[in-house]
């Protein structure tokens, strides 16, 4: 297993958000966490990258416990986290955002090649390479956020609501990008409100409700599940 979550409990001050959830992410897959607002999906991602301290529980990455690490060291293990709202540096240019994404890397030449590679994959970012990030469209910002985290060479990518606020055509585009990234060997843990998008590209899904996992299974089974269809797919 690439990532194992065991009995994770998280509080925000006195309020409990996660009630001892456990799940695994197998290497090479796309796993999605579904559920309503406030059901604890984003908090799970924040606990994995340690932006939020867990109250108790274990988080293992490649068999090693990482729940005692500092958040700035998580990327060294090969975990990239794209925040909801993207976490970009709004007054820095596209190329500067990407440069910071390679902050920890020493292989300067390879970084330059990787940035060229990213521009080849995302021509829209290439066109806007010297524009400030805040002047990009929502979809372009999401591409930039994903591209930036790829420069950290992640084995596991945590994506928090990548389709939020995007146009339907851009949602499809982001879906294709996520599948591409996965096919290149990056495992993806995807938090999404858009269950249709998520279940279409994911291998496995976990449904969150009030800080518990209430349903889990293969994505192709979940998408046929009546409860899931009614609650999250909207049809």
């Amino acid at each position: 297993m690439l990532l194992e979550i065991k009995n994770l409990i998280v509080h925000y001050d006195a309020a409990q958000v996660l009630y001892g959830i456990s799940f695994d992410v197998e290497e090479g897959t796309i796993v999605t966490l579904l559920g309503n607002n406030g059901s604890g999906k984003s908090t799970t991602l924040r606990a994995i990258s340690h932006l939020k301290k867990a109250t108790s529980g274990e988080i293992l990455f490649q068999g090693k416990r990482i729940d005692k690490e500092l958040p700035q060291n998580i990327v060294r293990f090969g975990i990239g986290h794209v925040l909801e709202g993207k976490g970009l540096f709004p007054y820095m240019s596209v190329i500067e955002n990407l440069t910071v994404g390679a902050y920890l890397r020493k292989d300067k030449k390879q970084v330059a090649l990787d940035i060229e590679d990213i521009f080849a994959h995302f021509p829209r970012l290439m066109e806007r390479r010297n524009q400030q990030a805040r002047t990009l469209s929502g979809g372009e910002q999401q591409m930039l956020a994903i591209a930036r985290s790829l420069l950290g060479k992640p084995k596991l990518l945590l994506l928090d609501e990548p389709s939020l606020g995007l146009s339907p055509s851009m949602v499809g585009e982001i879906g294709r990008i996520i599948r591409d990234i996965n096919q290149q060997g990056v495992t993806v843990l995807l938090v999404e409100q858009n269950a249709r998008l998520a279940l279409n590209i994911a291998h496995k899904g976990f449904v969150f409700e009030n800080g518990n996992i209430v349903l889990q299974g293969d994505a192709k089974d979940l998408i046929e599940d009546d409860k899931v269809r009614k609650a999250y797919v909207g049809r």
Binding site: Q72, V75, G87, P90, M92, T99, V100, Y103, G152
Partner: protein
């Protein structure tokens, strides 16, 4: 004759503005990266000035050697301040206010203890004046202006081009986004306080050479720094430069025509106007 006074007033005002800029840059960068007002930054500036005073008047060094030394020692002082006093109260707003204000008082008392009360002056950078189309300009002011300009340019290059500079800007613009790229926020805090303190020391030394210095100069300087942040916009080097020049020029030119009482009210009026009509400052972020 008035024309000559105005031109000389412009040079002196820009020179004074240069010292404000060197002080204010540290304050605005510290505030944008660490989210705190460093209430003792004015005293750091004062300590920098007195370090140069000690190295020149007491130890007999040239001011051109003393200023770089003071820049380094004051940066180290900044590192100590961050590590020993600021990091333990990280995230505690009231703690920051108390610790930094208290530090300012301690630095003032220590300097009074060592150097005594009273106004002092650092030796001049250069004597004499040069003539440009019939007008005479004091050389030391032009040199001070040049030093400020070079230092600001170097800082701007550092922030724009170097790895650590970009990381600082990133931390200021999105702290969590920066952490997730592997940027250690404690390193950034240490770096920004050290750089800000070192630059402030040069500002204090230039001010102490062209104008004068006393152990309580930090308080008034801090006020100017606050005004600069409001005018220029948080975290903006460009805004700090423009704001500093505005304040320096108004100090001189308004005094020339309306007297120094009116001049001392102008910065406050500018601050009020900015807060009312453009609270994010000239070049500030939202």
């Amino acid at each position: 004759m008035t024309g000559l006074l105005v031109v000389q007033g412009v040079v002196s005002g820009m020179c004074l503005g240069g010292t404000y800029i060197l002080l204010g840059l540290g304050m605005t960068l510290i505030l944008s990266v660490m989210n705190i007002l460093q209430f003792s930054h004015g005293q750091v500036y004062m300590v920098g000035a007195f370090t140069v005073y000690f190295l020149t008047v007491d130890a007999g060094l040239s001011i051109y050697i003393a200023v770089p030394i003071a820049m380094v020692t004051t940066s180290i002082l900044g590192l100590f301040i961050e590590r020993i006093f600021l990091r333990p109260v990280k995230g505690d707003f009231l703690g920051y206010v108390l610790v930094t204000s208290g530090l300012g008082l301690i630095m003032e008392v220590l300097v009074v203890g060592v150097f005594g009360l009273g106004v002092k002056q650092v030796p001049s950078l250069c004597s004499g004046s040069i003539e440009i189309s019939g007008m005479f300009f004091a050389r030391d002011r032009l040199i001070a202006l040049l030093i400020s300009a070079v230092l600001v340019s170097v800082l701007q290059m550092f922030l724009k081009k170097s790895k650590f500079g970009l990381a600082l800007m990133a931390s200021a613009q999105n702290p969590e986004g920066a952490i997730l790229q592997g940027i250690n926020p404690n390193v950034m805090s240490a770096l920004v306080v050290a750089i800000g303190s070192g630059i402030a020391a040069v500002g204090g030394a230039l001010g102490g050479s062209i104008f004068n210095l006393d152990p309580y100069m930090g308080g008034a300087a801090f006020g100017k720094g606050i005004a600069l942040i409001v005018i220029g916009g948080l975290g903006s080097v460009m805004g700090t430069v423009v704001g500093g020049l505005m304040l320096g020029l108004s100090d001189y030119l308004v005094a020339l025509f309306f007297g120094s009482q009116v001049a001392s009210a102008i910065p406050l009026c500018i601050v009020v106007i900015f807060l009312l009509f453009r609270p994010r400052g000239l070049f500030g972020h939202d």
